[in-house]
Amino acid sequence: MTSETNTSKGFSIQGWYRNLARDERSVVISYSMIILIIIAGATFITPNFASPNFLTQQLRIASFLGIIAAGQMAVILTGNIDLSIPWTLNLAAVVATSVAAGQNENLAFGVGAAIAIGLIVGLVNGVGVAYLRIPSMVLTLGVNAVLKGITVVYTGSAPQFQQTPEILSKVATEILFGFLPFAVIIWALVSLLQYLVLSRSGLGRKTYAVGNNEIASYLSGVKTPRVLIMVFVLSGVLNALAGLMLAGNAGRSFNEMGDPYLLPAIAAVVVGGTSILGGSGKYVGTIAGVIIIRLLDGALNIVQVSPAAKDVTFGLVILAMLFLYGRAEKVRE
């Protein structure tokens, strides 16, 4: 599909780029964008921006968003969206810390409870979308509201233990050998799994198929409801995992901890070149999208621009990336 045509005439970057498929181009652009941000940051803000220390920290913080974005991407690939991120991860974190009660030996139960919550939320979302045919946007919105209610009742009716066990905090914050954050290892494992599922497995192929044309997939024998349920469960479980990590990072769980992650997760997926309509996009692009969002945030934090300028810059960058490769073909059906 790609570069076989111009191998005979020697290698030129232009020719190579021109022969790339649409989703491959977006990957190239998004990784170039990362390099551009690092160079620009190091030149205009502080040389420190390109330092391994700074980048390691950014990667560590990015891994939380990265885990969320991985799940969100699978959902978006099917042409749906998961807006229940914030309170899924919040409820998971709150329940996990209170079950673990700050004790390392109880952590396994806490993690189990959190994952179970993610699983159940994913199942509810998946069944609602796959069998009741409720548009995912409104269903997950409603589920998010209910989860918020459950979390408020859970945390408010009796004082819950909020501190995270030491191990969990270590997992989220520790940097091994001075350069390898533990959180990044987890993100890498999630990413490897996600990559294998999306590009090397039948489920992955079906995910793309459903996103491209659900009716055609169904008629060709794909069990589309099963695919939809799987992606929502994946998203739910990864949200719960992210909730655990975020609690570990902050040292405790607290209400509304998930709210700042919904829109950046969607933005990261789209900036990474995944079509919001589903059916196309590469997982490596999503990783780039997460890093771009994180680096932008980091850069704007260093310069200490006003929150106002930060919001505006954020919006403009997303728009710019969209114009680079998010545009629809100029055709009418």
């Binding site: 548009p135 409104v138 106002a308 728009l319 059906e333």
Partner: protein, 363 residues
């Protein structure tokens, strides 16, 4: 047989009901919840309670109207809340506090209202132009522009505060009776005049404001050729294009109308809170989607309208009241609210109950 032929020629009552089924459901839910509220709250039919109910629903109503305009084209606007915040911040930044003893500057108020409306419509125009001529997906474009608009809101109003003339708030949020000059019905009203005085004392000014907006903005739009175009585009863009509809113009107009409604929402919020706050609008984005669905407008475009959205917004407003008077533990309030919204929205939007062929439920 006869009725069948009949229904093809002029809309019979059954056909009308069928056509507006989901909107009627929204109104039924609204009246049911209103009945429950009234039975729980003995003071429900007093001017003060009615006015506060109306005021508390109003910003959400305009947010919902904004969302409806865009959803009819098959799009979605995630920047509704940010536009409301931006307009609220802008209004609070533009109002000039008169010096001590000076009268309120009426020209300034008019200037603020016009500017804020233009800002709202302009924000919608930006959304529309990027979506249509950028050939980008509305959900992601408005996600990005919502960040920009809330940035502008923060720039205009970094910290909550600012001056809003009291009279501006009064005009929009009090009761008509309170706004009329004293003794408008005579010093000691009798008969009809007394009746009128009582009636006017019951009517919230915000309700009149809503009627005015509908009369001046929505109904002319809905009845115009442009309105027809917008529905046509949402129903089947390709067919609309083939029938000579100016698709791009219709779409951009819908976004402008949405921005204008959001701007009106921002104006009302300013009157209600009498202050500027760059974060007040955020909650309205997701709520507006919920009430649009609840109000019978399809997320796929081409059907529905503002009437159902208004009913849904008011219905939603009763839920906290009912929970309060039913003595539900305040802690459980968000849970019940969420559950009701989830159920209502799921029932309203689920397509499994309305189609004959399973394939019709797929995209």
């Amino acid at each position: 047989m006869v009725s069948k032929m009949n229904s093809g020629q002029r809309p019979g009552i059954r056909r009308l009901i069928f056509r507006h089924f989901r909107v009627l459901i929204a109104f039924a839910i609204m009246f049911a919840l209103m009945g429950v509220t009234a039975s729980l709250n003995k003071r429900f039919f007093t001017p003060a309670v009615i006015t506060s109910t109306s005021n508390q629903s109003m910003t959400l109503i305009f947010a919902g109207a904004a969302q409806t305009s865009v959803v009819i084209t098959g799009g979605i606007d995630l920047s509704v809340g940010s536009i409301i915040s931006m307009c609220n911040s802008l209004a609070s930044a533009l109002f000039i506090e008169p010096a001590d003893g000076e009268p309120v500057n009426i020209a300034n108020i008019i200037f603020v209202v016009v500017t804020v409306l233009l800002a709202g419509a302009g924000a919608g125009l930006i959304n529309g132009l990027i979506v249509v001529y950028g050939r980008l997906q509305p959900i992601i474009v408005t996600l990005a522009t919502s960040s920009i608009f809330s940035g502008i809101a923060l720039f205009l109003r970094p910290r909550p505060g600012g001056y809003v003339p009291r009279i501006y708030g009064d005009i929009l949020t009090r009761r008509v009776g309170q706004l009329l000059p004293e003794n408008a019905f005579g010093a000691e009203p009798m008969g009809l005049m007394a009746f009128l005085e009582n009636v006017f004392d019951f009517i919230p000014a915000s309700f009149i404001f809503l009627l005015l907006v509908l009369l001046v903005v929505w109904i002319p739009f809905r009845r115009s050729r442009l309105g027809l175009w917008v529905y046509a585009v949402g129903s089947n863009e390709g067919a609309a294009y083939m029938s000579g509809v100016n698709v791009n113009f219709a779409k951009v107009s819908a976004y402008v109308l949405g921005g204008l409604f959001a701007g009106i929402g921002g104006l009302f919020l300013t009157a209600q809170t009498l202050t500027g706050d760059a974060n007040t609008g955020a909650v309205f984005t997701l709520q507006s989607i919920a009430i649009v669905v609840l109000g019978g407008t399809s997320l796929f475009g081409g059907s529905g309208g503002v009437a159902g959205t208004i009913a849904a917004a008011i219905a939603l407003r009763f839920i906290p009241n009912i929970l309060f008077f039913a003595r539900v533990n305040p802690l459980q309030q968000p849970l019940w609210e969420g559950a009701v919204i989830l159920l209502a929205v799921a029932a309203g939007a689920s397509r499994i109950f309305t189609v004959r062929n399973r394939l019709d439920t797929m995209r």
